[in-house]
């Protein structure tokens, strides 16, 4: 795209032609206050907060609907601009309740931020504030506080432009205006919680998150949603070892700015019913002695030349690293054990926006590693040891119990207590994607990173480490100290990953087919 030279507050920058002044200022490191403009929802021009002074134009112009051209110069720091911004804020605040201490948006509220930087005046309103509806459930997952709304219409435009469902609307006029849904048509589309993300103030809040945590206590890690094979990019927000919410993270190759509600609520297994210590026949044990027991069984099978009596059942829920370690474990350490996995997660809903029917985050990774997705071949003949890695195949498909019973020992490597961990003779705790670095490959073949957010809970270890320690009992080892070590091997031994460099995946991932990182925005 052609570049143009512009000046922002006297500083020259080069930006793409066609950008609006809010985006251009952002590139120059200047934030133009705004409520209604959102890059995913386009220009609306109703809030008037983004007025700037453009050289050669006598009146202030809204930055969202003014576009760069070569030689354009504008300022956001003049007396006129700040006076105007304070004036617009005064109008927005006329009827706005001053309930920040009990408002759940507090700390991530644009109105609060702008007022603190450019406001703090005495109210000139000498009549009562107009009161509107508070704490109204506008849908099963979203609460409305109409008094806090600044009528930016982002939620209205989201429901019109992105989901096409058109539930939200501004009704009435003047100081009576408020956002609402049509009677008996609640805001219940599969993306309704995105209205909470785009809401710049505390008018729309998430029922799942509200009043559970003050946002300034939260830490944020870049991660991925594991609800389906889209792999929406998210911020995993956590505090004190607990994940509180997912928020969509911009990735124009995958999910734009959005994510679906069911996916957003898939963080709970990271907190609840965790398997965080090793369990041997129902008793808690230390991890080393549990691993020793598994290693001994494996070693006997290998030493007696019965590698094929061992089977490894993997899952498309696992990270690429877990799958690769399991494959190397079966093929190299054991010298030819059966390995494969099953799409045990039942197919979900697929739509035209983001949701995919395949409810597994890494089906494509399984396929690219050449692993079968059919559990039958792995399980059919029975044997000595069955290693089950990740997810809950027995819980999803109780019919597998018979096949599991044909093995002398069932060992489970997983992050949660479930039907499979209960059935296993030994259950070993491995880190879920909140507690390690790694990758998933989405349905389009885009390899995407997730980042370690939390320290591993209890005795949990990274699954390749546990598999490596088991392997040591056969006198062999992987020698991987980190994801990078593992990826160096993965790139060498797996053709499908040969063109992908872990270090250059960056925040937006890389398409496996092209061999080119989609963007060079490294970590």
């Amino acid at each position: 795209m052609a570049k143009v030279k512009i000046q922002v507050n006297g500083r020259e920058v080069e930006v793409d032609e066609g950008l609006n002044l809010i985006e251009a200022a952002r590139i120059a490191g200047v934030e133009v206050p705004h409520f209604c403009y959102h890059p995913g929802l386009g220009v609306d021009g109703n809030c008037r907060q983004c007025l700037v002074e453009i050289d050669g134009i006598p009146k202030l112009q809204i930055a969202c609907n003014s576009f760069v051209k070569d030689g354009l110069a504008f300022r956001t720091d003049t007396e006129r601009v700040t006076r105007m911004q304070a004036g617009v804020l005064e109008f927005l605040f006329l009827n706005h309740p001053l309930d920040c201490p009990i408002c759940d948006q507090s700390g991530e509220c644009l109105l609060q931020d702008y007022y603190i930087s450019n406001g703090k005046y005495e109210s000139r309103l000498d009549t009562d504030k107009r009161h509107k509806r508070k704490a109204v459930p506008v849908g099963p997952r979203v609460m409305l506080d109409a008094e806090r709304c600044v009528l930016c219409s982002r939620c209205v435009r989201f429901c019109d432009k992105v989901t096409g469902t058109g539930e939200m609307r501004i009704v009435n006029r003047g100081n009576r205006a408020e956002i609402t849904t049509y009677p008996d048509r609640p805001l219940e589309n599969d993306y309704s919680l995105c209205t909470v993300d785009v809401c710049p103030v505390g008018a729309l809040t998430s029922k799942d998150f509200r009043f559970r945590k003050r946002v300034w206590h939260l830490q944020s890690a870049k991660s991925l949603c594991t609800g389906c094979s889209r792999g929406c990019n998210v911020y995993m927000e956590h505090e004190g070892g607990k994940v509180y919410r997912y928020r969509p993270r911009e990735n124009m190759h995958v999910n734009d700015f959005w994510m679906c509600d069911p996916g957003r609520l898939t963080y709970t297994p990271l907190n609840d019913e965790r398997l965080d210590v090793a369990i041997v026949t129902g008793e808690e044990r230390t991890l080393p002695e549990s691993i020793e027991q598994v290693g001994t069984w494996i070693n006997i099978a290998v030493a007696s030349g019965q590698s094929d009596s061992v089977a490894v059942l993997v899952s498309p829920q696992s990270s690429t690293e877990t799958l690769y370690a399991a494959k190397r474990f079966a093929k190299d350490i054991l010298g030819g054990a059966r390995i494969g996995g099953g799409n045990v997660r039942p197919a979900g809903v697929q739509d035209e926006i983001l949701r995919r029917a395949d409810a597994n985050p890494n089906s494509k990774g399984l396929e690219m590693l050449g692993l079968s997705a059919d559990p039958a071949a792995v399980l059919s003949a029975g044997g000595t040891v069955l290693l089950v890695i990740d997810d809950d195949p027995l819980g999803m498909n109780p019919d597998l119990a018979g096949a599991f019973g044909k093995f002398e020992h069932v060992v489970y490597l997983g992050s949660n207590e479930n039907a499979t961990s209960a059935k296993a003779e030994i259950a070993l705790p491995i880190t879920p994607h909140s507690e390690c670095d790694g990758t998933f490959v989405n349905f389009e073949g885009r390899v995407q990173r997730f980042w370690k957010a939390l320290t591993p809970r209890g005795d949990s270890l990274w699954s390749p480490t546990i598999m490596g320690r088991i392997a040591e009992f056969t006198g062999q080892e992987f020698g991987w100290k980190s994801v990078r070590d593992l990826w160096a091997d993965l790139q060498k031994t797996e053709d499908a990953f040969a063109a992908i460099d872990y270090a250059s995946l960056g925040e937006v991932g890389a398409a496996a087919g092209s061999g080119q990182p989609a963007s060079a925005s490294a970590e």
Partner: protein, 184 residues
């Protein structure tokens, strides 16, 4: 100047029939439907015809009920919430049933100087209702409005589509009686 493009009545008609068959409790009469189809020819798309369609609906059904909003939203392929937003924005779309004769009295500057408020008092007393109310027999509704752009006949009122003025506390009594006789 070119006349309006000739309407494709067939297409509009078919869609309208489809909506009618969906079992709504309200539907345009044949004459209104003909006017509606003609209306559509004036706009680049159906959605643009919202305001006049609502106006026609109000003339036909008296007020804009929830059923009317849903009927219009299906006629024009708009979300009902959008139609609701538009209806609630404009005060001249009525969200409750109105009397047969809707008297809208101006109390803006010229009318007020010419005694509009005494006329308003007299009207309220004569009708036995306050502003924004409708008489029990459903004959009259009374509202106060801003300038009707007829200051030469101040103080004046708009009764349905007719302008009346200048009014006095005495003449409004006769005016109401005449209307009541006309309405029987």
């Amino acid at each position: 100047m070119q006349p309006y493009a000739k309407p494709n009545l067939d297409i509009a008609g078919r869609e309208a029939c489809h909506v009618e068959s969906m079992g709504h409790s309200v539907a345009f009469s044949d004459a209104s439907m003909e006017r509606f189809r003609h209306l559509l020819t004036r706009y680049p798309n159906k959605q643009a015809a919202l305001l006049p369609t609502l106006w026609m609906a109000q003339q036909e059904f008296g007020w804009i009920s929830t059923e009317v909003i849903e009927y219009v939203s299906e006629l024009l392929e708009l979300p009902p919430s959008h139609v609701y937003g538009v209806v609630s924005f404009y005060t001249m779309y009525y969200r409750k049933p109105m009397g047969k004769y809707h008297i809208q009295l101006c109390t803006n500057l010229s009318c007020m100087l010419m005694g509009g408020s005494t006329v308003l008092d007299a009207l309220q007393e004569k009708l036995g209702i306050g502003l924004g109310e409708t008489t029990a027999d459903g004959m009259f509704s009374l509202d106060e409005v801003e300038c009707l752009a007829a200051c030469e006949m101040a103080p004046c009122c708009q009764m349905n589509d007719e302008y009346h003025g200048p009014l006095t506390p005495e003449s409004v009594g006769r005016f109401v009686d005449e209307l009541r006789a006309r309405g029987k």
